[in-house]
Amino acid sequence: MQDDLAIRARGLRRSFGDLRAVDGIDLDVPRGMIFAILGPNGAGKTTLLRILATLTRPDAGEAQVMGHDLASHPERVRAAIAMTGQFASLDEDLTGRENLVMLSRLWGFGWRAARGRAEELLAAFDLSEAAKKQVKDYSGGMRRRLDIAASLIVSPGVLFLDEPTTGLDPSARAGVWRLIRGLAAKGVTILLTTQYLEEADQLAGRIAVIDHGRKIAEGTSRELKAQTGSGVLHVTPLDPGNREIALGLLGEAAQADPEGARLSVPVADDTEAAAHLARLAQAHIRLAEFSLGAPSLDEVFFALTGKEAA
């Protein structure tokens, strides 16, 4: 047992009928880290998270969370973690305060201590004014904040966050990001799932990319980008007739946009991008447009798997 690991998983598998949702995943998450699981819809992210949070039983494989074995001591795992699901797991009929008091009571606080803890959390999550409103009247961002607050009634060793910002507007998303960083700064290990490369890039110390239940890559954001190129050069030839020639000049990694005339090629840095542009200029291919962008999740997938994201 390595004590510096918050999560250690080996060969986790879980099928639902014919669908292999999680198909042999190993994971090592160091303590105190923000670790992101990146993948498209249906990649198995949620199932993996639910297995590690003791909510779904694996068909095979083993895992330890904060040193406790998932199979033999699920109750110890539960005592060491908190989970915030994809949909706010709150009682919509109750107010924000009542939800927090109820959950504090279920954690074992007395009535007075439970009320105190609820007030603290409401204040910290900027929800004091909405404390007396029923949760069904909350906005998406408020719900998400209350949901995360509900996971922090006691300090969890590991906090699982399933797509914490899906469906939030940019300012609410930034608020949740600040919150996650704040928690990590206090030493909470965070395992989050996301469909957004940018989110993983912004928050996570390490990223595991999963697809069809398998881990296809893992590393720091920098390491993954080295595989993908740090960015993508997009070019649109002025004359669509030059599209094929340009594609040839850009090399094997280049892709043609199936709908438009745009071509994309991953590049390591601006020098490489400039070299591509110079080659096109030498071949007298005029461009209507060119741009350098961060790789999208689709492009990361293409680079890692050689196929489009599902």
Binding site: L55, S89, D91, L94, T95, R105, G108, A113, V154
Partner: protein
């Protein structure tokens, strides 16, 4: 943003009694925030009571007052049995909202959330029963056994509600939406409550139906409740009334756990 994370030891896990109390509190809060649900619980039985007493009562029992003596214990059973559907709907809602996942990831006894639902149900059965009984008393119903009969009857009603509640907890775990639970529930409950001795004496029913009415658990429960209210209950009557709920609990409580763990 600074998040107050408590340092030091966590509180000890709550006792089952404290957990039950918290779930009961939740049920009370739901009554306070959604008072309409009280309507759902008692509107139908109130309508049934008024309709049957004043429209059919004279024809069925000679007078409305005489019919009340027959009907009130029966409608109490029907109310309790029907209200178990709402427990299943509540569970289905909690499951679809993911609230149950949160309960499950707490370090509490894995059956505690179900026990919690049951605590809320007992509260609902008591409130609904008290309202129906109150209306009956106001209309002229008089239980011969007085207060002790009423208390014994309510204890039986809670046992009935507890036993039948498992049916809808299982349904809540199996079907996908709260609406399906309700539709399925009423599809089962209408026939078993009408083909019983709740509304009328089965003496005039065809023989094959009488045979069903005689073994229908709803009839057995109603007979026992009438006897308790009248102060004439025998151990056999009460035993037969409790047989259904006991069997349901023995069969369905383990099934609930299995279904729940398999999710």
């Amino acid at each position: 943003m600074s998040i107050p994370l408590p340092q030091g030891p966590r509180p000890a896990a709550p006792s089952p009694a404290s957990t039950a109390l918290t779930f009961a509190w939740r049920a009370v809060l739901k009554f306070r925030h959604v008072p309409e649900q009280l309507f759902d619980l008692v509107m139908t039985p109130i309508m049934f009571t008024l309709l049957f007493t004043f429209i059919f009562g004279g024809a069925l029992a000679g007078s409305s007052t005489a019919y009340l003596q027959w009907f009130i214990p029966g409608i109490l059973v029907q109310t309790t049995v029907f209200n178990t559907v709402y427990s299943g709907m509540g569970l289905s809602t909690d499951l679809s909202k993911g609230l149950f996942d949160r309960f499950r990831s707490l370090p509490i006894w894995s059956l505690a959330p179900f026990a919690g639902l049951m605590v809320g149900d007992m509260l609902r059965h008591t409130i609904a029963g008290a309202i129906i009984l109150g209306i009956g008393l106001a209309l002229g119903y008089s239980p011969e056994a007085g207060l002790s009969g009423i208390l014994a009857s309510f204890a039986l009603l809670l046992a009935i509600g507890f036993g039948w509640g498992w049916i809808f907890i299982v349904l809540g775990l199996v079907v996908r939406t709260p609406m399906t639970v309700m539709t399925l529930g009423f599809a089962v409950l209408f026939p078993v409550t009408f083909a019983s001795n709740i509304m009328v004496d089965p003496a005039t029913m065809p023989g094959w139906l009488q045979a069903f009415v005689a073994v229908n658990p709803v009839s057995l429960m109603t007979t026992a409740l009438r006897a308790l209210m009248a102060g004439t209950a025998t151990a056999r009557e009460i035993g037969l009334a409790l047989l259904g709920p006991a069997l349901l609990t023995l069969l369905l409580a383990p099934l609930t756990l299995t279904l729940y763990r398999r999710r």
